[in-house]
């Protein structure tokens, strides 16, 4: 069986690179490299060495201008040809939290119309005006082409931690195409004890339109989400593991799916 090579792209302010690398190793990736973006800009390394490009969580460039914006521009201006080649070779891209903001602001997500990299959405300040850090319930969209959420349980429980997590769309047309194309892979939902259904605050932590938590492109190979699956990859990460017992960690599914798919690329 082929192996999977995973790149965790680092930049100033990224702080979830090591736990994301750990999650991919747990999921069986043969090679996982956290590498600084300058190595690629300066030509010392190449994206072509890898099967999966991961933009992990953090506060790239301090999120000084807005979440992920400066890193998104840097990638667009200095690495876009390499990124387009990477996508064209059928490889995977995953953005978690700040990485999701980067992918959206690069125009790689949701990309509901083929061609061009126009920004169709944004990830904006939470309606609460606060940094929201807690565990959330998510429902998988079974009709989504998303590679990363295949065959996962219908609902999963993982943490979220952000101040800018509210997904907003450029137009109603984008909203319609998101729905018809199955781009919304994950949504926030109310927990079972309050009846399930579409999430409202605090179960939707940010006020995202249609309770969107994660989006993929039309191919399902580019995926971004605001919650942090890498923070639930061991049973003891669960906040109630001592009372409810050890369970299969929900976050691990996403990394296993990526590794399994990547093994088939080469």
């Amino acid at each position: 069986m082929s192996t999977a090579s995973v790149l965790i792209l680092r930049a100033a302010g990224i702080n979830c690179d090591e736990e994301t690398a750990h999650a991919f190793r747990l999921a069986g990736a043969a090679r996982v490299d956290p590498v600084h973006i300058n190595a690629f800009i300066q030509g010392r390394r190449s994206l072509s060495e890898y099967d999966v490009l991961v933009l992990s969580g953090g506060f790239s460039y301090g999120d000084d201008l807005s979440g992920g914006k400066v890193l998104a521009n840097e990638m667009q201006c200095k690495l876009m040809d390499d990124v387009e080649s990477f996508i064209g070779e059928g490889k995977l891209i995953l953005g978690i939290c700040n990485g999701f903001q980067v992918l959206v602001k690069m125009g790689l997500l949701p990309q509901t119309k083929p061609g061009g990299r126009r920004q169709e959405a944004t990830v904006f300040y939470n309606d609460s005006g606060k940094f929201e850090c807690r565990w959330v319930h998510l429902r998988r969209n079974p009709d989504s082409p998303c590679v990363f959420t295949r065959d996962m349980p219908e609902t999963i429980y993982i943490p979220v931690a952000n101040g800018e997590g509210k997904v907003m769309l450029a137009s109603e047309d984008v909203r319609e195409r998101l729905g018809s194309g199955g781009h919304v892979a994950l949504r926030y939902v109310n927990p079972p004890w309050v009846g399930g259904g579409a999430a409202e605050y605090p179960w939707s932590p940010n006020g995202s339109i249609d309770a969107i938590a994660g989006i993929c492109d039309a191919t399902g190979r580019i995926f971004g989400l605001m919650p942090h699956p890498e923070r639930y990859t061991h049973p003891t990460h669960h906040p109630r593991w001592t009372r409810e017992g050890c369970k299969e960690p929900d976050g691990l599914h996403i990394f296993r799916n990526a590794v399994e798919y990547a093994r088939g690329i080469r």
Binding site: V70, C77, G129
Partner: protein, 162 residues
Amino acid sequence: MAADSKTWRIAVVNKADVVDAVGEGLRGDILDLGINGIERVRHVRLYALRGALSSDELDRITTGLLADPVTQDHLEMAAEGLPAVPGEWGVEVWFRRGVTDAVGETALKGSRDLGVAGIESVETGRGYILAGQLVRSQIDTICRRLLANDVIERYACYEGGK
């Protein structure tokens, strides 16, 4: 021919239908000061861009870096300052000379990433448009106790339409 070096003052504000969580939070803080005449606060991000920039380069920085295309508008500020109308007060808060402006440094890096070589410096500030039944002494109280840190920042306030 290269453009002359000058300073552009840019204001970035949320579009009308977008929640202004910072402004709403500040309104509550002003009420906590006992100033009950406050009705609405709009938060504005301010940038002073200095350099020899063409109009195309200025547009590239404002639309491609400083303002979010989905949720925010930007405008070049006139000499009279923020677009406060009668019944509103405009407040600008900027760093004092010599204070490190880390966000400005990031904006400078981001501008250069966009290929704008003529950019020389970026200063950042915060703007507020306060609406309500307010008098000058209350605005000063709000500025001194909430909006500006006098050790590192200076502020200017003015009544809209005057």
